[in-house]
Amino acid sequence: MKPRTSAGRLTSRSLVLHENVAAYLFLLPFLIFFVGFVLYPMFMCVYTSFFDATMGREDIFIAFANYKELFNDEVFWIALKNTLVIVLVSVPVTCAFSLWVASVISKMPIAATSVFRCIFYLPVVTGSVAVTMVWKWMFNNYYGIFNYLGQNMGLIDKPINWLGDTRYALGCIILILLTTSVGQPIVLYVSALDNVDKSLVEAAEVDGATPFQAFWKVKWPQMMPTTLYILVITTINSFQCFALIQLLTSGGPKNSTMTIMYYIYYNAFKLYRYGYGNAMGVILAIIIAILSAVQFRLGREK
């Protein structure tokens, strides 16, 4: 954690008490909602994962049987693999792409920056159902725009069934996910770049640093908290990729786009296997939490 510079000064006991009381008073409004409507259901979810819970009857305690079943569930492993692929591709690409876009548009005149920032945020704004519909049409096997352009430009000789082919389906999902997830990072990066201490950058340039060096040596470290936030959020969002799968592929073809989130949904809401779905949710949360912890550790070392 942070070096405890402030704690060093707070020696007297009453000051410590004061600090604690003040901190909890500031936290109180949030904690009421957080404990009541997030932590409590979260606890219930962990609790239910040890039960055979379904609709219309009392839950039966089965200890770790759900978890055991999980390890032998072939589809779960496929889903885990696909989810990891999505995360490993989309997280770095999202971060790099949004940093690049942000660095380009932040150099434009303020009005242009605003316009572009708004445009890149549009897919988030328009809502996933409508945007996904448009993408589905663009990827369409029979008259989609990608096949049309690809054939006209001679890149492909016959139509590709983008979403219906095990080789391309996951890639298409990742591409759509990217367009709907770069909005926030770009907004954050533009403001982070704006807020970089200008005097440090100018000093570096006077010392003969190239813009490239100035960026990595001076600006980049200053943007670390933002980057950390973006990394964690993007990781969580990619892990929880669900709506796209539900609207586009239902996990197919041949489970090639099955993600953990969709599988959880399928088990909990279609087969009413709440306990099993929750067990998967717990495993997913543990994986994400570990990854986030690692990201924090790495972020701090830098």
């Binding site: 201490d197 929880q240 709506a243």
Partner: protein, 295 residues
């Protein structure tokens, strides 16, 4: 600064501008398609050859959207407002839901984020770990316990059942904590030495500095709650309590998606969010030395 960039650098930037411009076009396309699509006749919407610009602009989709369902404008006790198109009520509901979530979240998250970043208190590490763990947990699995909770509080099928969990959701706290981390602790300390109260320190010193963070939190919360389809689906049932995306979904027939209706609804629904985005946009640029301190 310009005189320092070489020719090579200039070429690089020109290429970048062009690329960004082209990519921006592809980002614009879905919205363009939705807006023009909402004015197309059914035949052109379903057409196999793309109709880039509607050959005839019609408002049937919007008429359908407004005519198919109706709801009272408001209900206070036994006082029932005039009947208006369902879509308008849904839009009002959605704006209300998002706005309240946004305002309350910003307030609670700013306070909590500040405390987490700048205060030393017992349980700080544990609380932060819990926050990250909670964000990591897929929302789908907490829905059923949440639903039972809302039912027992008699909040099921009210807009509050959707708003309250959003306020509890710790994204905002996490975001603002990251911003507040970057503010030099010395500034807070200095203020305290001057004898300002805790609340004054927060409102007069801290808040102005984390404003860009709060602005971002506002927009993200607004839009996340706007798009939080699954939660809305589970918690709201009455026609008068629906949100716009939910309402449009209930107008779909079996195995036949009325794309015109969906596009009209989405076009209508995106207007308020774009306005909010533009209003809050100026916050982004007002920041002071965010991230100035290494983590």
């Amino acid at each position: 600064m310009n005189n320092l960039t070489s020719n090579k650098g200039r070429v690089y930037y020109i290429i970048c501008y062009v690329l960004v411009f082209l990519i921006a076009l592809t980002f614009l396309f879905p919205l363009y398609w939705i807006i023009t699509g909402s004015f197309k006749v059914k035949q052109e919407i379903l057409s196999a050859t793309p109709v880039w610009i509607p050959t005839q602009w019609v408002t049937t989709n919007f008429e359908n959207l407004f005519a198919k369902r109706s709801a009272p404008l408001f209900e206070i006790g036994s006082l029932v407002g005039p009947t208006i198109p369902g879509a308008l009520r849904w839009l009002l509901n959605t704006v209300f839901m998002s706005a309240v979530s946004m305002l309350v979240t910003c307030l609670t998250a700013a306070m909590a984020g500040y405390a987490l970043a700048k205060k030393r208190f017992y349980g700080r590490t544990i609380l932060f770990s819990l926050i990250v763990a909670a964000m990591a947990l897929p929302k789908q699995v907490i829905l059923i316990p949440l639903l039972r909770e809302m039912s027992s509080l008699h909040l099921y099928d009210t807009i509050w059942a959707v708003i309250i969990p959003i306020i509890g959701w710790p994204f905002g706290v996490f975001l603002i904590r990251q911003f507040a981390e970057g503010i030099p602790t010395e500034m807070v300390e200095a203020c305290r030495i001057d004898g300002a109260s805790e609340w004054r320190t927060f409102t007069d010193v801290m808040f102005p500095m984390i404003k860009p963070g709060v602005g971002a939190c506002a927009i993200f919360t607004f839009i996340n709650s706007w798009n939080d389809y699954f939660m809305q689906l589970i918690m709201l049932t009455s026609t008068k309590n629906l949100t716009i995306s939910l309402g449009i979904a209930t107008m779909q027939g079996e195995n036949s998606t009325d794309f015109g209706l969906i596009m009209a609804g989405s076009a209508l629904a995106s207007v308020p969010i774009i306005i909010v985005f533009i209003i809050f946009q100026k916050y982004f640029t007002k920041g002071i030395t965010m991230g100035a301190v290494k983590g």
